[in-house]
């Protein structure tokens, strides 16, 4: 430590290196270069003392794969490192990660303030299922920053939202909303599935808990279900008396106070010790490995996803069959400037567009594209399309569709990393059919 002249620079590993290496030490795994798949339910104790030590959290280590598993652990550390978080807990799906985050934070009688532009499954969880557990939510439009403040009640335990709302591409002003949360002494939880840490690291903008459906771009290949919650480590649970299960001796774990004992990793420790133990949505080691494979190429894929998406935006905006295009890269998108600030590496690969000719045209388009896959997923390496008005939301009338941020003419597109010319050629086939909808639907 004596080099006086040169300016000192920390040499911790950077994003692309962490994507490949973080969380794994080959020398402790028989020198295996790839992360081994620990396909096991349970782990030998050295002796009774060792067993007791593991159960009492005296030592780190694995007991039973519902609680933790070495392969899953590598994934957890890797995502924590990429997000700039202190700790992470992987789950069997994105939905279980959201559920676990809420159940770690809240109890019956509590309240959450929630963005209204969310993945449909998440809306159902907050609107219909959580009230069954005595947890109520107030929905606020993502652009209504002041609305988040007004909706906070005495029993509010957190704010939850997707950074870029689904499917309208409305962006939450995360830096401002995090200030509102912190003034109220509550954490901000952000579902950043659509961004991945390559596009945005929410902790840098004030989020406290980040959630991903790893099923999407992180795993990236449409092969495996997985989710994760990541902790920023900055939120002070002891600043008020809103979070007794974090700060007071917890009966369910030998009188442990998670906040006192684990500070910047308290939330993850509680989510694992309580949530994984009692709810059990554990990720399989094979799926964890599949996700790790995906993360190895996260930067490379996201670059291509985003450049293809921007090409598609231009193509669609100039297309005679397209009525409108929604993507944060479009200059007249209401959040264009905010997107530049929060998503400097690219604005993501989710596009919504309106097809001229309304619902019938939408149906014809979807039924005629061949390369683009018609299915209920996003964030695959392959291009995906869906027409919500005729598929997922077909029971809704015009007014209900509008409330959900949808319309009859809307097509949702998750741009893949195929050759861009092939995607456009495929869309031409779809558009041609859409211009003659009756002919096609009579075939």
């Amino acid at each position: 430590m004596s080099d006086k002249k040169k300016e000192l620079k920390p040499n911790t590993y950077k994003f692309d290196t962490l994507s490949l290496h973080a969380g794994y030490q080959p020398h402790k795994n028989a020198g295996s270069r790839q992360v081994p798949i620990y396909q096991t339910t349970s782990y030998l104790f050295d002796d009774v003392d060792h067993a007791a030590a593991l159960f009492n959290l005296e030592r780190g280590g694995h007991i039973y794969s519902r609680i933790s598993n070495p392969t899953v652990g590598v994934l957890e550390e890797r995502v924590a490192s990429l997000e700039g978080g202190t700790a992470a807990l992987a789950t069997s799906s994105g939905m279980s990660a959201i559920f676990l985050a809420v159940m770690t934070l809240c109890e019956a009688g509590d309240h959450l303030v929630v963005s209204s532009q969310l993945y449909g499954g998440t809306v159902n969880l907050f609107r219909l299922t959580l009230p069954k557990f005595g947890i109520k939510c107030t929905f606020v439009k993502p652009r209504d920053t002041e609305g988040f403040k007004k909706a906070i009640q005495k029993n509010t335990k957190g704010i939850f939202g997707e950074l870029v709302g689904n499917p309208g591409n409305e962006i939450m002003n995360m830096p401002e909303i995090s200030k509102i949360a912190h003034e109220a002494g509550i954490p901000l939880m952000v579902d950043a599935t659509y961004q991945t840490p390559y596009l945005c690291k929410p902790f840098e903008h004030g989020a406290d808990i980040v959630i991903h459906s790893l099923t999407k771009w992180m795993a990236g290949h449409g092969s495996s279900m997985a989710g994760i919650l990541v902790e920023g480590g900055k939120f002070d649970w002891m600043q008020n008396d809103k979070f007794p299960t974090m700060t007071k001796p917890y009966e369910g774990y030998h009188g442990l106070s998670f906040a006192e004992e684990f500070g910047p990793t308290a939330f993850t420790m509680k989510a694992r010790a309580e949530g994984m133990r009692d709810f059990g949505p554990c990720l399989s080691p094979q799926n964890a490995w599949n996700v790790l494979q995906g993360i190895e190429t996260l930067s490379v894929r996201m670059k291509k996803h985003c450049s293809n998406a921007e090409d598609m935006v231009k193509y669609l905006m100039n297309h005679e069959s397209v009525a409108w295009v929604s993507h944060p890269s479009v200059p007249d998108h209401p959040d264009h400037e905010l997107a530049k600030k929060l998503l400097p590496n690219g604005r993501g690969s989710m596009i919504a567009f309106g097809i001229k000719g309304g619902k019938e045209a939408g149906v014809a388009f979807i039924n005629n594209v061949k390369l683009a896959s018609h299915l209920a997923n996003v964030g695959d390496t392959r291009t995906l399309v869906i027409h919500p008005a005729s598929g997922t939301h077909s029971q809704m009338d015009e007014a209900t569709l509008k409330f959900a941020g949808l319309s009859h003419d809307m097509i949702r597109l998750s741009v893949g990393i195929e050759d861009i010319e092939d995607i456009k050629n495929d869309f031409e086939v779809g558009f041609r059919a859409a211009r003659k909808p009756r002919l096609v639907s009579n075939q």
């Binding site: 430590m1 004596s2 080099d3 006086k4 300016e7 000192l8 920390p10 040499n11 911790t12 590993y13 290496h21 973080a22 969380g23 794994y24 030490q25 020398h27 402790k28 007791a52 030590a53 009492n56 959290l57 005296e58 030592r59 780190g60 280590g61 694995h62 609680i67 933790s68 598993n69 070495p70 899953v72 652990g73 590598v74 957890e76 550390e77 890797r78 924590a80 490192s81 700039g84 978080g85 202190t86 700790a87 992470a88 807990l89 992987a90 920023g232 480590g233 900055k234 002891m238 030998h254 009188g255 442990l256 006192e260 004992e261 500070g263 910047p264 990793t265 993850t268 420790m269 694992r272």
Partner: protein, 272 residues
């Protein structure tokens, strides 16, 4: 638990067991700018096995009140005052990094109070890189980033935390940033840099002593740790391969195994 020393509130983790006056006392002293949380993979074991394991937050650090103490000598007196404040006559001390300077000085000053001394990543002196010192004193977060870089060995840089799901470097960073950097790290680094009495103090240590050193420790290299140990009569040395300065987390199990053997042999627990 919370108690008072010199009218300031002190926080100490008891490792998940209530404090019990009948049990022998071990005090864990953290390194520069850090807190009691660095000891979580050692304290809980001792707390569940017949000891009072107190991982203290130094004044102005973690959950403790007051201002940070400005010299190693003051910290040494303060640790001795902690023993009195919790109603004990004697204790075993465990220190990490700056905590080694503090515990060696404390043992030299209060030979009758200290029963065993365990040093992790210790040295007789910890002169600071002037740039790092000035960054910390000017509240620059880069000081923390540099410290986290140097404090973790090559293996720790990749991760592999013993507690599933935790990531070393970011956890350490958040601990070091939990209070104002210049008031914790800045004051601590200056105290380390100013402290010159380590080798003299070491010669006065007569209790059983253990030094745990790590081959990839850049902050207190093995050579420095050995030099300190060589001045302490009968000192044991344990060297961990493939590990950096944060051995108490990077190789928590190994550290606990060595520490457990040393402390239970030389300062037995209250048998239940």
């Amino acid at each position: 638990m919370k108690f008072k020393v010199n009218n300031n509130e002190v926080y100490a983790s008891t490792g998940g067991r209530p404090f019990d006056k009948k049990k022998p006392l071990i005090i864990f002293v953290h390194g520069s700018g850090l807190t009691h949380m660095t000891w979580v993979l050692q304290t809980r074991y001792f707390a569940f096995h017949g000891y009072n394991a107190l991982a203290i937050d130094l004044p102005g650090h973690g959950l403790s009140g007051g201002e940070s103490l400005k010299s190693i000598e003051e910290m040494a007196d303060w640790v001795a005052a902690v023993i009195d404040a919790v109603g004990h006559k004697e204790a075993s001390l465990v220190g990490h990094s700056q905590g080694c300077l503090v515990t060696v000085e404390c043992t030299a000053r209060y030979p009758n109070k200290i029963k065993t001394l365990s040093l992790m990543g210790g040295a007789g002196a910890i002169p600071m890189n002037p740039q790092l010192l000035s960054l910390a004193e000017s509240n620059d977060p880069k000081a923390v980033d540099l410290m986290m870089d140097w404090a973790h060995g090559p293996a720790g840089h990749f991760g592999g935390h013993p507690v599933p799901g935790l990531y070393h470097i970011n956890t350490g960073t958040m601990l070091a940033k939990s209070r104002t950097i210049q008031n914790t790290l800045g004051v601590d680094f200056r105290a380390c840099d100013n402290y010159k009495n380590g080798f003299e103090a070491a010669k006065k240590v007569k209790c059983p002593t253990l030094s745990i050193l790590a081959t990839d420790d850049k902050m207190c290299p093995v050579k420095e740790g050995k030099k300190l140990a060589s001045l302490i009569e009968g000192s044991q040395v344990d060297i961990i391969d493939n590990c950096g300065h944060m051995m108490l987390l990077e190789e928590a199990d190994r550290v606990l195994t060595v520490l457990k053997k040393f402390i239970t042999t030389n300062y037995p627990p209250l048998s239940s």
